[in-house]
């Protein structure tokens, strides 16, 4: 374990990613206490609308006079909440299906994988828009759509890993020693299959934040007055290019956060693979 952590520590981009992720996590948890104007999550101060960045308002104010700096900080909570819920739900659905399909084979496995293929073909945004129409646009409809379209990625990974591990020598040795199927699948195959899943989940968090931002931008996700980053960019459109700060800072928040997750995910992938693939 220590060797893995040490190796990760040597990977500068991964460390940068980890720092960003931890920072965003910090903002998400302690946002209301860190933001200078926590009330600006909802309150409006029309007297100071569209002010450029100053010492009092480092990122300027938006069209309702709300401090963009505070709203960016407060938006972290929403972004992470969506990301964790979506990826979490996708894993809960996808991982067991992958295990089931990978271990036994036969028609059950074929059926699961074909269903997975079909769902993979559904574009996330299109489904989100469709659900928004059915359920009325909200954060919930966005999260549902994203979860329903993300689980196949996990199923595929877990399926491939389970298949590989089922025919591995240590599983064979376990069968020789008398281990039953539940023990083999849950105590041995699952932990070994989780490593690529964790990598995928990390990158998926970043990806989900991006897609959620797009949905917010389209008005199909978070609704006003939520301090959602995508929503802020949507609202800023009419005031560009004069109020450049309105779109720039929420945009940068999205960029840096997604990049942070991607860098961390890449770093995790590097430390996870060699350790397992290399025998002895």
């Amino acid at each position: 374990m220590n060797a893995l952590v040490a190796k990760l520590a040597r990977d500068l981009p991964a460390m940068l990613g980890l720092a960003i992720v931890l920072f965003v996590l910090l903002l998400a948890v302690f946002g209301p206490w860190l933001a200078p104007y926590p009330g600006d999550a909802s309150a409006s101060h029309l007297l100071r609308r569209l002010k450029p960045p100053t010492a009092d308002f480092p990122f300027g104010t938006d069209n309702l006079g709300r401090d963009i700096f505070s709203r960016v900080i407060l938006g972290a909570r929403g972004a992470l909440a969506i990301a964790l819920t979506v990826v979490g739900a996708a894993m809960v659905i996808g991982v067991p299906l992958g295990l089931l399909a990978g271990y036994r084979g036969g028609w059950l496995s074929e059926t699961i994988m074909r269903v997975t293929d079909v769902v993979l073909a559904i574009p996330q945004l299109v489904l989100a828009l469709a659900l928004a129409q059915l359920m009325s646009p909200s954060l919930e409809s966005a999260m549902l759509a994203l979860s329903l379209t993300y689980w196949p990625f996990f199923t595929r990974i877990v399926y491939a890993e389970t298949r590989r591990l089922s025919s591995s020598m240590f599983v064979d040795a376990l069968r020789g020693v008398g281990a039953g199927t539940p023990r083999i699948v849950f105590l041995h195959i699952l932990p070994n299959a989780l490593s690529p899943v964790i990598v995928r989940a990390t990158i998926g968090l970043g990806f989900t934040i991006l897609v959620a931002a797009v949905l917010g931008f389209l008005g199909m996700g978070a609704t006003p007055p939520a301090p959602d980053w995508g929503l802020a960019i949507a609202e800023s459109r009419t005031y560009l290019p004069r109020a450049w700060w309105y779109a720039t800072f929420p945009g940068l928040a999205i960029l840096i956060t997604v990049m942070g997750f991607n860098l961390l995910g890449d770093g995790l992938r590097d430390i996870v693979d060699p350790r397992i693939r290399r025998s002895r």
Partner: protein, 285 residues
């Protein structure tokens, strides 16, 4: 001397084969083709053959993980054939298998203490403290530091992993060990240590070995009896020193002729001239 501890009669195993549904049907291969052999208590029987001879399939079938298509398997005179892999393993618990690649046979995410204890847990030892005690005792018995139970497979050398593997199955108190190429890929000095350990363990735990190998030098030194396998059949069986001194079957002669020997370039008849008795010879009562 009573009957053999393990007996195999006319065993056949078919592998591969695909029924045609949307694909072209492929006929199965007779990996094991009507094999009969006896294993006597306390002996080392070597199963010698090249790749494709069926020796690994035969080993796995005797173990139970591979289901036989025809034939009889008798353990202590009782039939244990015709069972599913899980049932077969339960019925033939006295037989355990030592894999060729020791590192690959261990779960990389479990420390070896836990891996060793797992076998005991599966076989009903409920008390965790008792399991740990037995694990530590067995680690010492195979020449490893009991404290190393906390470590993970990748922290051990190849030779040490082999000991871990042996410890794991010895904890299950087997009577017959099927050893799959225990010396292949090992350095000469490590090989000697492993063979020494195997002989020592056999004496201490009263074991019987089915020793699968293609290394004739090792087999000549270690085995009491030898069975030569070729294309799914056993072509010759007998006491090792007899078979190597006077091979009857042409394939046996071919194998002996091809095996690299320290004595260097072939003599014209290619036999093992001047062979002394095997190191692990057991005197028959």
């Amino acid at each position: 001397m009573s009957g053999p501890i393990l007996s195999v009669r006319d065993l056949s195993v078919l592998l591969g084969g695909r029924r045609g549904f949307l694909r072209k049907p492929v006929p199965p291969v007779k990996a094991v083709n009507g094999v009969s052999l006896d294993l006597h208590e306390g002996e080392i029987l070597a199963l010698v053959g090249e790749s494709g001879s069926g020796k690994t399939t035969l080993g796995r079938t005797i173990l139970g993980l591979q289901r036989e298509n025809a034939g009889e398997i008798l353990l202590d005179g009782k039939s244990v054939a015709g069972l599913s892999p899980e049932a077969a393993r339960r019925a033939r618990n006295a037989i355990q298998y030592v894999h060729q690649d020791a590192g690959a046979a261990l779960d990389p995410w479990w420390n070896i203490g836990r891996t060793l204890a797992e076998g005991l847990l599966i076989h009903g030892v409920k008390d965790a403290a008792e399991r740990m005690e037995r694990v530590r005792a067995m680690l010492s018995a195979v020449g490893l530091d009991p404290e190393s139970a906390r470590r993970y497979p990748h922290e051990f050398s190849g030779g040490q992993l082999r000991r871990v593997l042996l410890a794991r199955i010895l904890l299950l108190q087997p009577r017959i060990l099927i050893l799959d190429e225990p010396t292949s890929g090992l350095d000469m000095s490590v090989q000697a240590t492993v063979l020494n350990l195997l002989l020592d363990l056999r004496k201490r735990f009263s074991l019987t070995y089915l020793f699968i190998s293609h290394d004739l030098s090792v087999v000549a030194r270690l085995a009491d009896r030898v069975a030569i396998m070729h294309l799914g059949r056993i072509v010759e069986t007998g006491f090792a020193k007899d078979v190597f001194a006077r091979p009857a079957h042409s394939y046996t002669r071919e194998l002996l002729n091809a095996a690299p020997r320290l004595s260097g370039r072939r003599t014209s008849d290619g036999m093992f001239a001047g062979q002394t008795a095997p190191v692990g010879a057991v005197s028959r009562a």
